[in-house]
Symmetry: C2
Subunit: 358 residues, 2 copies
DNA sequence: TTGTATGCGTTATCAG
DNA sequence: CTGATAACGCATACAA
């Protein structure tokens, strides 16, 4: 029983890269050796050329080129606990509004040597949370979220890890960190009031449903509520037959138009929660020879390119899509840079654009 | 002179995290301590739960939750020399075609726990090269590029680091690694031949110009050349007055139409290199009361949603936008997984869709 | 302006 | 199924 433990052989120090199997990417050290300097000097030359002597820098540059050295952000991030990665989540990229916002980010980020991690949530809070987790696992320097309502974990994660965050496309008094956008409620309210002023009495509202789950979301809900409030404030009755919804595409816009006209033949205006649906309805009117806005007025939301192209040109709500992205990125970068003077809530507003369809 | 060197004080081992200043993200080790296991076990439980005893796994899960641990991909990537990051470069996201392709990637990547680094090159080869470099610095597991012509460095970098790569939206016999798409040349050729068969003789072509540099690119060039070849093969003369170009938007489509009609009043068909421009031209015709296709036939490229909505519905070339993205991601993932049976060149083809505008 | 020593948080490898 | 140890490639802190 009382057997002695076997004498402990010294553990063989294992080299992970023993065999010359897979070719490895070049390391800083190899560049350093070739340039006759230390690795840290190469590192400096690459990140902050100004602080390295010109002559040294030249030798390093040559070595880098010759060896084909490519930086390793992962190692760098680990050592410095910093990254130049920004994570952004949009519900979809099939909506030109979000595409344009992303375009806006790019105008700011591109020049600043930041990389963009893109997440598409498909309007799902669960998916959004998963994506936020991934961004944090990447130790993203900042995160941009669409809208102002998220799962509870999202806020906890982001504040817990103290990651600069911008919520855009909506407004709230209690942002996770910063927020920039416009009030969906106010915008819809304004449009409906505008329609009332034009003399319309039976004003319908169409909610776009989105994502594979075909749900609405906080933005859509806010718009619908803004519309309802405007009706109440105008002493117009709220008739549930004047509400419809449908998938966010041309066809469903046309379908919603027909549905409403059938339910309430006397409907005199339809406010679509999205330009695309409004354009679809406009096309349907054209096909059927219905005069717009004579038979029925049509308004959209978003002021996409479409709205000036269709006939008649579409009355719509203009929002600052590109600016929203651009400014969001600017705010985020300032925040990351440690600027404490960054405004926490930025309202970019909206405009009701009266054209020919109302 | 002969002063002795001062006795070497032992260097103070510096702790980087001496002060309790910035709160640090929790580490694997802390979770391990709380769960009463070693860090490596936690690591395993997180990455591959199956190989850890259920009971152990439970304790670990609880500790993770309590501590609020979030994985650190940077450290993981460094240690394993692997990432779950895919880099993709598109020329723009303002074109619905690319948006839809990205959407396609997502349908594949999302479920596979990969993250997406997005690069927008704005149709610039220099920018594309910079982005590829960034992706490599992130040690992306794979890269997806738009089109098949790139700066020379791009190929060198990608092959040099042996990064699985898919080029999409075009076809070439000599891909960097894999490629999937359709022949822009053949597609345009087919459309023009189609127009010839319909009896048109004066068939114009409009090249969309893109990016802030307003250039064309290999895809556009291929389409134009396909068109020219079709004319030659049909024994139709090539008249430079039947070529125009303009920014890729509605307005420029309308402008190109007017320009062509002015230069060649007898133009009987116009093939636009992009649906958006074609739709713009269609709108212009409608405004002016020009019958389409009676006065002039109009064809587009891309089969976007627009094409079925405009009146008359637009004849166009359908390409597999969503499938291109989805399949590209599938190919890439198989390649990353080490599957050597992946086809190197995948032709998704195209279809000429005859509607009412020709 | 450059170099030395050390740590970043994880995973591969090998042992049990 | 779990653990001990040594890398992974770079940047910070400090010294020279």
């Amino acid at each position: 029983m009382a057997r002695k433990a076997p004498p402990r052989r010294p553990l063989r120090k294992h080299k992970r890269n023993g065999e010359a199997g897979t070719p490895r990417a070049a390391r800083l050290e190899e560049v350093a050796r070739m340039a006759g300097v230390s690795p840290i000097t190469v590192s400096r030359a690459l990140r902050n050329p100004g602080i390295v002597a010109e002559e040294t820098r030249g030798r390093i540059a040559r070595a880098v080129k010759k060896i084909g050295y490519v930086r390793n952000f992962n190692a760098g991030a680990l050592a410095s606990r910093k990254t130049t990665t920004i994570g952004i989540i949009v519900p979809t990229i099939m909506d030109i509004g979000f595409s344009e916002a992303i375009h806006g980010f790019y105008d700011t980020l591109g020049e600043q040597e930041y990389q963009l991690l893109l997440g598409v949530s498909d309007y799902s809070e669960e998916e959004e949370e998963r994506l936020v987790r991934d961004f944090l696992a990447h130790r993203a320097a900042g995160v941009i979220l669409t809208g102002v309502s998220h799962g509870p974990e999202v806020r906890r994660l982001l504040t817990g890890m103290a990651v600069p965050t911008v919520e855009f496309w909506g407004l709230t008094q209690n942002p996770i960190d910063l927020c920039i956008g416009f009030s969906n409620f106010d915008a819809a309210y304004a449009m409906t009031r505008h329609l009332v002023r034009l003399g319309y009495k039976k004003i319908a509202f169409v909610s776009p449903l989105i994502g594979s789950a075909m749900r609405d979301n906080d933005r859509t809900r806010d718009r619908r509520e803004g519309h309802r409030k405007a009706l109440r404030d105008s002493s117009l009755s709220i008739d549930e037959n004047l509400f419809a919804s449908g998938r966010l595409d041309f066809q469903s816009g046309a379908a919603a138009l027909l549905e409403l006209v059938e339910k309430r033949p006397d409907v005199d205006a339809i406010f679509f929660g999205n330009d695309v649906m409004a354009a679809g309805a406009l096309m349907e009117c054209q096909k059927r020879g219905w005069q717009v806005p004579k038979k029925v007025a049509i308004a959209g939301f978003g002021d996409s390119d479409l709205s000036t192209i269709v006939q008649p040109a579409l009355t719509t709500v203009r929002i600052q899509r590109h600016a929203m992205g651009k400014r969001a990125a600017e705010l985020l970068l300032e925040r990351i840079a440690g600027n404490t003077q960054v405004p926490k809530i930025v309202d970019l507003g909206f405009d009701v654009i009266q054209r020919e369809s109302t």
